[in-house]
Symmetry: C2
Subunit: 253 residues, 2 copies
DNA sequence: CTAGTGCACTGGTCTGACCAGTAGGCTACG
DNA sequence: CGTAGCCTACTGGTCAGACCAGTGCACTAG
């Protein structure tokens, strides 16, 4: 067995700095709200130049771990985790891989329906009430019926799904649906508001949500998941080219 | 209606540089393999100092869009999209949010089972053959039965799932399973190889994969999905604390 | 024609400087 | 005594210039 030598990857100074700070943050030694030393202080602690420190901070900032503000007498602030970096990566993916709206919606159908399946088993009574409240908000927004209130309807819709996803108890599903949803909303921005039969669309959407809620209340996860998939398909299908719909229908059994 | 003024967010010079280059890449004006001008050239094009250019490049590099190599007479290279940045973000999420193994496995069960559900409808004959080949490789690796060949078994296992996910036709599912799988493998590194009854585990895993494959061939997506979930549960449950298993069982109907 | 050597360039790093901005203490005024 | 306002000592953002080690290429000597 020949000795396998690893090629010594040249590791840049700023990477070392990134690694150390990253480790401190991820291990919890530096919690959200904690302050890093100032750049000039860091450069003596790490024995590197300020440009190196700054490049490291830029990387950490790009990863959403810290934030720095000019003039702040304290150093950079350690941020609580946010899916912003995930969101950025996924938006990039959507653009360079030319992800179709169908693919994104399909992904949401998968995640949301799985979430509701879990939620049907794991939901608390409070969460059930929150879902009910969200649907009530949707209904109120529909009755208001002024064009600008579509935002309210959409917000209530989002709130419903948020509760469901939270009730699933899976953080990853939560983060991913959040990210994908905003990417989807970015793609169809404005289109829903001027859909021809907006009101009937809302009415149907509300009915669907009620059916899903009923299934969740009954603990029938499979039905809830099926209903949710159909509901999402209904809601987004109008925005899809005909050719992309079959891939979504494959999820409707 | 009061005029809504946006707070003028101070936008740093390097961010402008990032935006412009990012736009050029994501719009396709700069494809993979293309070269950026050298840093010194960029600083005159953008009328900024070199440190600003470098910070911008660091950010772009952190997002996995470009790579620079010292001494390269051409500038930084535009990279094809890679989920590396996504992977990094998700690994961070797993650490700071203290994601449990159960949550990760649950997420994989959701994604993989959805993928196989889609694959049962959309798979080509070539993909079916590739799945078959992967199972054959698993069988071969098991028969070899030397301890070091667990890697081969695992690789064949991964290959099977990769084909399934590819057959689903959904890039997002593909990327996410890829990322989550490697995070999971990182968490249980080495543990599988010294499981007590490794051989029976492999044998059962192969049988499960065969059942899944049969369901896919028959076009029975629902069964394939159910079988796959059970298979994954079986495979990973031994690594889970008892308290975390029920959440996974919720997916086994 | 090839092997070898420079050279011109690259990115990585450091130093030092300036600016605009902030926070907190200090002072002067009410 | 309280407070409004200024002052100073910092901060991060940016630039300029320098040096180094490494690369690729053209040119040259064999």
């Amino acid at each position: 067995m020949g000795a396998r030598f690893e090629p010594v990857r040249a590791v840049r100074a700023y990477e070392r700095v990134v690694e150390q700070v990253e480790e401190a943050i991820e291990s919890g030694a530096l919690g959200p709200g904690a302050r890093l030393p100032s750049e000039r202080e860091l450069m003596v602690q790490f024995s590197v130049g300020r440009s190196t420190v700054r490049e490291a901070l830029r990387v950490l900032q790009a990863r959403g771990l810290v934030r720095s503000r000019p003039g702040d007498p304290n150093g950079a602030e350690v941020l609580p985790f946010s899916p912003a970096a995930l969101h950025k990566s996924m938006t990039t993916l959507a653009r360079v891989a030319e992800l179709s709206l169908a693919e994104l919606v399909q992904f949401r159908m998968v995640l949301d329906s799985s979430a509701v399946l879990l939620a049907a088993r794991l939901r608390t009574d409070e969460q059930l009430a929150a879902m009910e409240a969200a649907i009530a908000d949707m209904r109120a927004a529909m009755r208001a019926a002024t064009a600008s209130d579509h935002d309210a309807f959409s917000a209530a819709d989002v709130a419903f799904h948020d509760v469901v996803v939270a009730a699933s108890g899976n953080t990853l599903i939560q983060v991913c649906t959040d990210v994908v949803r905003s990417v989807v909303l970015g793609l169809i921005a404005g289109k829903i508001a001027d859909a021809p039969d907006r009101e009937s669309l809302m009415r149907r959407s509300i009915r669907h949500h009620e059916e899903v809620l009923a299934a969740v209340r009954a603990g029938d996860g499979a039905s809830a998941a099926r209903l949710l998939r159909r509901s999402m398909y209904d809601y987004y299908a109008v925005h899809l080219p005909d050719a992309e719909r079959p891939a979504l229908r494959a999820l409707l059994e």
